[in-house]
């Protein structure tokens, strides 16, 4: 009810604070708590051969593992005596791959194995079976060294020995906790090394422990401090499933499953993280499923060089995949669902974009690429706080509450303020209408995010959103708004702010975000020719347009823009086409939720002259949304927590009338002018 109250207040300053704060809502989707973390040196580590890091590693072929060629040794993990159970599972999967085929991602055609392919994979596995010495993935990883490979034959690996390891182990807790500047504690790197299965089902220690972490941490997070950077122990490690598809090797951290099969939902969790990869440069993970985590399915931190290929993330309560302060990072051919936050989350990504320094001599470049993935059935398909220079390309992102959220809110521990240089291109982003704000939701949301939204940038600079198909998101295809600096956290940015912030006058004027973002060559409110929804579009009751040949499938608004401050320059939209295939049908910058925006509601197409226009209705709307979910449904109340009316229906038109009246009342009031002055006047 905040917005209603505002209409009655003489003082309008609350509006500005709440509005800017409200912008924090989606942004904070990405927040998580972790040890003080540093970006690794982006140069290859030549103390091992071949060098580790410096680029996204190449995966070695499965066949090469049985040819006996190095570098490194091959450690085989299997199920049953002489791998009999694994081989039986393999034969079953191969029969299905031959007769029915399988989908690597729900949006893609089936893959059907030829007889020759099946025979070859069976032969490889028989060869591996002869060398199988492990029934535990963790045990094999612990015995592995630089350049080694851990090959996991088909089966479900729930790692009983890891599960029995105590949590908050007195051997590590509290002795190996480290303090931040104000004395708060987090598990240190040495904690994870010494008690690897305290939190993790499978832990990959990349480097030796040397020295203690710096207390307090350095403000410059470029480079892991030398005093705690040990030599490579497991650099260039490759962990790979040997079945025809990822679901053949399940690394399982769940308990009390409801139902059968790889998609079954866990009733509880044995560990926080299924697989954690820590400072292990040059890591490759391929062809397995990570399932059932109290926090994250896969988690890599302070790693230079990561490739995840053909990996699935099911039912992680927080993030399916979380990469943090990592470089030369790629996730491809993946699928995930059931995340209470995001399926994929690259957070605190290195400053290889607008704010790059000579620490990154080859900048600007993307440091993280997410491609050819299906991210669905979650609160968020993708999110990333301080997701600098991340490229999201050629994915299908659908059936989430919000498809993509990237933000600049500085929850503690996320260096890299402000976020910049995100690139979202050549994706299919559709039908993100999943309502999880209901009793007994099928996926328990950990964060409140707006239902019906394709892409949400809360404080981003210099992004490029282009050549995407964005349709059937019932609230907004995309959203862009500013986060004034004073609202990024209780204590300002984490770590140093590097030069190159794109907003003119920043940081002195307090507006460092939402400048220089460009949206172009996108198809909005319309499907590609011949498009059909994947079978998983209705997962968990997700609402979507009819699955028919009609290409018009509108978004609520194609491009929603906050239009806040005059200091928000360089945001522009051009060469996009709308629901009828022409530029004329593109909609934006959109109404303020239940309130219409100020006229003229024209999206700037000229990047050189674009600046914010101080839309009071939108500020007020965001104020109300900042209070989070509630039961209020009046014309001036936030509408993020209920499923929007399907675009284009008669109900949509009827619903807009009282909202328009409320907005006009607000826009004529004295308070309407004050939020902008207040929000723009704050600095760190």
């Amino acid at each position: 009810m905040v917005a209603k109250a505002l209409l009655k207040r003489r003082s309008g300053w609350l509006a500005a604070g709440a509005a800017a704060a409200l912008l924090a809502v989606p942004a904070l989707a990405g927040a998580h708590l972790e040890r003080p973390s540093y970006w690794p040196d982006p140069a290859p580590d030549t103390t091992v051969s071949p060098a580790a890091g410096g680029e996204v590693p190449d995966a070695r072929s499965l066949a090469s593992a049985v040819r006996g060629k190095g570098p490194g040794k091959v450690l085989v993990v299997c199920k049953g005596d002489d791998a009999e159970q694994s081989l039986a599972d393999l034969r079953s999967s191969l029969r299905e791959a031959r007769s029915k085929g399988f989908r690597l991602r729900p949006s893609q055609p089936k893959i059907r194995f030829s007889r020759r392919q099946a025979e070859r994979l069976l032969w490889i596995n028989r060869e591996l079976a002869e060398d199988c010495e492990y029934d535990s993935v963790q045990q094999a990883v612990s015995d592995a060294g630089n350049n080694d490979r851990v090959l996991i034959m088909p089966g479900l690996y729930d790692e009983p020995r890891s599960r029995s390891a105590p949590e908050n182990d007195p051997a590590c807790n509290p002795g190996l906790l480290q303090k931040d500047a104000s004395g708060d504690l987090t598990p240190s790197y040495e904690y994870q090394v010494t008690c690897p299965n305290d939190q993790n089902l499978i832990y990959v220690q990349g480097r030796a422990v040397v020295g203690d972490p710096l207390e307090p941490p350095l403000t410059n997070r470029q480079g892991i401090p030398a005093q705690e950077l040990g030599a490579c122990l497991r650099c260039n490690l490759q962990i790979e499933g040997t079945g025809p598809k990822p679901e053949d090797v399940i690394l399982d951290g769940g308990t009390d499953y409801q139902g059968e099969g790889p998609q079954a939902k866990p009733g509880g969790y044995a560990k926080h993280v299924v697989m954690r990869v820590d400072r292990a440069d040059g890591f490759v993970g391929r062809n397995f499923l990570l399932r059932g985590a109290r926090e994250h399915g896969f988690y890599n931190e302070e790693v230079d060089g990561v490739l995840l290929d053909r990996v699935k993330f099911f039912w992680a309560a927080d993030y399916g995949h979380l990469s943090f302060t990592s470089d030369h990072n790629m996730v491809k051919n993946c699928e995930g669902f059931g995340a209470g936050d995001a399926v994929v989350y690259p957070g605190a990504a290195p400053e290889t974009g607008s704010q790059a320094t000579d620490f990154y001599p080859d900048a600007p470049r993307a440091n993280t690429v997410i491609k050819k993935c299906d991210l669905h059935g979650s609160a968020l398909g993708y999110s990333g706080s301080m997701g600098n220079a991340v490229r999201i390309t050629n994915n299908h992102i659908y059936g989430n509450t919000t498809g993509i959220a990237s933000d600049t809110l500085s929850a503690a521990g996320h260096p890299g303020f402000p976020a910049d240089s995100s690139e979202i291109d050549h994706n299919f982003i559709y039908s993100n209408n999943l309502d999880l704000f209901i009793p007994d939701p099928p996926v328990e949301p950990l964060v409140p995010v707006p239902i019906g939204t394709g892409i949400l940038y809360a404080g981003m600079n210099d992004a490029r959103v282009h050549d995407n198909w964005i349709f059937d998101n019932w609230r907004n295809g995309t959203m862009l708004f500013s986060i004034p600096d004073s609202f990024t956290s209780g204590g300002g940015a984490e770590g140093d702010i590097f030069p190159g912030v794109s907003c003119p006058g920043a940081p002195q004027n307090g507006i460092s975000t939402s400048c220089g973002n460009r949206y172009f060559n996108n198809h909005v409110g319309r499907t590609p020719r011949g498009f059909r929804f994947p079978d998983t579009i209705a997962m968990f009751g997700n609402a979507h347009a009819d699955d028919d040949a009609r290409r018009t499938k509108p978004n609520g608004t194609d491009f929603w823009w906050g239009e806040f401050f005059a200091a928000n320059t360089g945001n522009c939209w051009f060469d996009n086409t709308g629901s009828d295939g022409t530029a004329a049908s593109v909609t934006g910058p959109g109404a303020a939720g239940r309130l219409p925006a100020n006229p003229p509601q024209v999206l700037p197409s000229n990047c050189a002259t674009s600046l914010g226009s101080d839309d009071s209705a939108k500020l007020t709307y965001l104020v109300e949304c900042g209070n989070g979910p509630d039961e209020d449904t009046g014309p001036a109340d936030c509408d993020w927590w209920t499923l929007p009316v399907r675009p284009g229906s008669e109900r949509t038109a009827r619903a807009s009338t009282p909202r328009a009246a409320a907005a006009r009342t607000l826009e004529r009031s004295p308070e309407a002018e004050e939020p902008h002055e207040h929000g723009a006047g704050h600095t760190h």
């Binding site: 908050n168 002795g175 504690l185």
Partner: protein
């Protein structure tokens, strides 16, 4: 590295004690002056990571204030020497009460809610009460 030297938990308890001391009947209803931990799963001596709305509802008033102080400490930047926030613990308490009252909120993580509210605090009329 020496947790014994950390002032975080001690300060959290002190803060809780001070706040609870002013809570009157609410405190007596909670009835747990000796609460040593916040609500939710304890990890590394803190419940900030996992405390959710379901935990919040089940906690006593004293445990809830310990949780608020714990989260406040975790959500100031790691290089900050203080744990000050523009959001008062009392306001945070009220926000959690409100946020946790809606459908589907059981698993909402309190620290994620707090971070949003903290962002709101600099300009809120009552955040510093």
């Amino acid at each position: 590295m020496d947790a014994g030297r950390s002032s975080g938990p001690a300060l959290a308890l002190l803060a809780a004690a001070l706040i609870v001391g002013s809570c009157g009947a609410e405190d007596r209803a909670g009835g747990d002056r000796a609460a040593a931990e916040g609500v939710g799963l304890v990890v590394a001596g803190s419940t900030a990571q996992f405390a959710n709305c379901g935990d919040w509802r089940r906690g006593t008033v004293a445990q809830r204030y310990v949780t608020v102080a714990d989260i406040r400490g975790q959500l100031t930047p790691q290089s900050s020497l203080t744990e000050d926030s523009d959001l008062s613990d009392r306001s945070a308490y009220r926000i959690f009460q409100s946020s946790c009252a809606t459908d589907g909120a059981d698993q909402l993580r309190l620290y994620k809610v707090y971070a949003r509210a903290q962002a709101f605090a600099p300009l809120s009329t009552d955040a510093g009460e």
